[in-house]
Amino acid sequence: MIWLLAIGIGASVSAGAYLAMSRDLLRCVVGISVLAAAANLVVLASGGARPASPPVIPEGLERLDAAAATPLPQALVLTAIVIGFSLTCFSLIVVLALKQRTGTSDAHDLRAAEPPPEDDGEPALERDPELELPPEDEGEPR
């Protein structure tokens, strides 16, 4: 069973990583959500990968059966799934909004925050006229 899980985790981590490194922002988002799914599997695997009964205490008993699955990782993964969904939706909306503002979803074209260096090798600066210093005053008058 652990081997099955490990193979599944390996495959989904690889797929998620491959997509996350894509230039296409949509693929990037999907890649991250696949990575999140893989992470959930890893957390669950940490609880012991064996076929087990659900961690529910049957009526009449006072404690959990030893054959039941470990409950804590399940609780962690459960919330992670819901949060992952909301973040994926949010990322998709951001990609759409980016596309609308800039006209592209190619990560290589999104250079507003970090423009490519200038020809002389100096790091480029986005010139913001509001940030320019006012014209110099004459200093100490003579």
Binding site: A15, S22, R63, V82, L87, A97, R101, H108, D109
Partner: protein
Amino acid sequence: MSEQPADPAPSRLGLLALVPLALFGLALWAYVSGALPLTAHVDWIPSLGISFGVHVDALSMLLVLLITGIGALVFVYAAGYSAGDPGRARLFGFLFAFMVAMLGCVTTDDLFVLFLFWEITSVLSFLLVGFKFGKEENRQSAQQALMITAGGGLALLAGVILLSRVAGTSSIQQLIATAPSWVDEPEVSGALICIFAGAFTKSAQVPFHFWLPGAMAAPTPVSTYLHSATMVKLGVYLLARLHPAFGELTLWQLTLVIVGAASSVWPMVLVFRERDLKRILAWSTVSALGTLVLLIGLPGPGAATATAAFLLAHALYKAPLFFAVGNVDHATGTRILDEIGGLGGRMRFTAAAAWMAGLSMAGVPLSFGYVAKDVIKIAKSDTDIFQWVTYASVFVSAASIAAAGVATVRVFWRRNTTRPAHAKEGPPTTWFPPLLLASLGMALGLFPGLVDPLLSDAAHAMGPAASLQGLRSDETASYVALGVTVVLGVSIFFAWDRIHRRQVRLPSPRALQASGWYAGMMKGIRRVASVATRSLSGGRLPVYVGTILAFALLAAGLLLARGGPTSAWPGFAFEADASSVVAAGALVFLVAASIGVCVVRDRFLMLLVSGLVGFSSALLFLALGAPDVAFTQLTVEVAFVVVLAALLLRVRRLSLGEPAPSPRGHRLLRAALALALGSTVAGLVLYGSRFSPDPALTEFFATRSVPEAYGRNVVNVILVDYRAVDTLGEIIVVTLTFLASLPLLRLLRRQRRAPRPPGETGLSDRAVMLDVAVRGIYPVMLVAAAVVLLRGHNEPGGGFIGGMIAVAATAALAVARGANAALERMPFGPQRLAVGSALLSLASGLPALFLGEPYMTHLWTTVPLGFTEYKLSTVLAFDLGVFGAVWGALGGLAARMIGLDERTTGPAATERPLEPERAETDPATTDTAAIDTAAIDPVPTTRPAESRS
């Protein structure tokens, strides 16, 4: 300062001088009444042994008196100097802050606190040098001063840390007391080199000397106060302060003597290049500081006394000279030597002050400068090992005489045909301070006994010292030496211009200029930063993600490599029981989906396949005995696919555009990195399976759930009870995500009014069958959600799963009947539902507080219901909050995302979807919509992002 017809009244800010004056009086009183040493102790960071310890002995007192006394005069002077200057409040503010920092620096007993104040003085020096920041040149000078002194300050911090580690204390007094036991440790040398770097940069010693003349860009009160009388003496003070601990070390003595001698001689060579009076004085200050450093390094009882005496003498003559130059500048508008002369008749008080200060600087008998130089000479002659020092000092003294002559005789008495006609004396606030200081210098020259006790006491703080009077010599030899020096100095004075012309003609190789090194270093820093930025931060997202993943691979790989051989991994085993078969099936799906999602080019297909990854992991969860997780994942996938399907049409309409495919090499590299990461993580999972999780935790939940939390579904019990605060945080995150996406969604909706390209169909052309089916299913799903919620505590289910079922129902409704229809059916509306539910969860933990229990301890009560009973609890309120938050936030999010596809907004849309839309066939409507969009959209979609790359 330009010449003004009528001087404006001195600034009232000059009244600030009363503060240092009061402090001066207080300090003097404390000294005279014999209260020294004053000590106090306030713990600051006890864990690091750092305290605001205060220790004021005579050495500190000497500095305190200089700082407050000259400070008071500087405030008075600045009141007249800066009269009418709009920036005067800033000037006074900085000066006052500087004075406080200086006082902190010289009175503290803790090296870390000293460092703190030390750096504050560097920063204030930066602000004051760049006071007239309108000039590029001044900004450069300020930056240079900061880079060097603050850089040295960092070295000082390193030295202090090293020293306090070796010595086990950062208190200066304890350091001195315990020094013999650790001073021979090898680390001490490293610490000393760092401390030297700090002291030498602050006191402008060779090779860091060049910043001080640059700092003359500051206004005159600043140059007087910071860059001659006090701040630049901090380095000297620190060395003097630590001298008792390290004075016996060869490294200490040798470094101080060599650097001090070089710093006293070299500036007096460079000074001939200058024509600016202030810069000439600055070079002579560097030389004086060099002399002080040299004196500290010299052995013998006279050296310490000479240090203290010269410290005072220098302050008493250099400050008036700076004041005088400031007055000349104010009166004539220039400080260039060739443009001024013969001002004595017009500026009598300034001239008198300069005259007395100049005598003291030249070391003429009857001035306090003479007393100090006399003691210095004796201190130097005490040491026969440094014979050459004596010869060097003759030159330095002679050059000082010449410089003093230039600053006084030339300016005030030598005839000069080009002298400005309008020069006149400024208000009393500008000539009184220099006159007072210079007279004091003369008075102390006549009666050195007045300060003898203070100076001897200060010298005692540095080591064995003699009294001033006991050291004075009246030998003929000393007069002969004085005569030689004076003759030499007068010759240099008359030859000043000739030497200047010769020296500026000399070639000056850049390699010999420390300022050239500095400029090269600054350029180098920029270049390195530029190269590093370009290579590490190229602005390309895939590279960033790749770098992060590569580091993750490295970390995981290291972990795996340390884990031992793969033979320790569990063997491959497969038992054909029911759940293993399910798992194997799920695995096949998972691997296929993983491969598929990477190779599919079409986006729509890719998104659907990515949903398969979720579905197959849900199956895996089921096989592993995690039904709650599996159901959550399933409902999430359902909602996700529905949202995606709706969005995809939107994406197509936006013609998201495939980016140009990456080069093959890049894709191979990505694939290699991804596969390496995947297999490493898989290896880690296998390796980790050898360790079982802490059984105590499982045991805790296994045995406590029923008796303490009255719940049989342990996963739910953990979520709503034991880890309820965690869960609360998570639903708040979900709610915030929804709220954060609302503005973006609104932006997208506005854009959405763009006409649909002809021939494209959207989900709003909805099938009647779908609509009917959803109308029937929606209430059933909501009832199911409620049941799942209510039974969740004892059987699989709970707030999260129930909430997700409701989300799926809302999404389905949004697809079939439009987003607004779906949103309207959510109680209170999505925002209020989400936020209110999160608050309900938050509040459900509060009642426990009234019973004295910790937050989120749930309360239970049993409600009889006829033949049965129901256990009512705050748990239910909490889980209801979870349910509502998930439904409100994610349902709202899903419905609005689906709603992006719709053509129109407003309530009218609710009932429209069943009708086929005609809008796109009507050209008039289309045109109006297009204009509408152009008018509303604040951001043109053709932002020049592409043109940049």
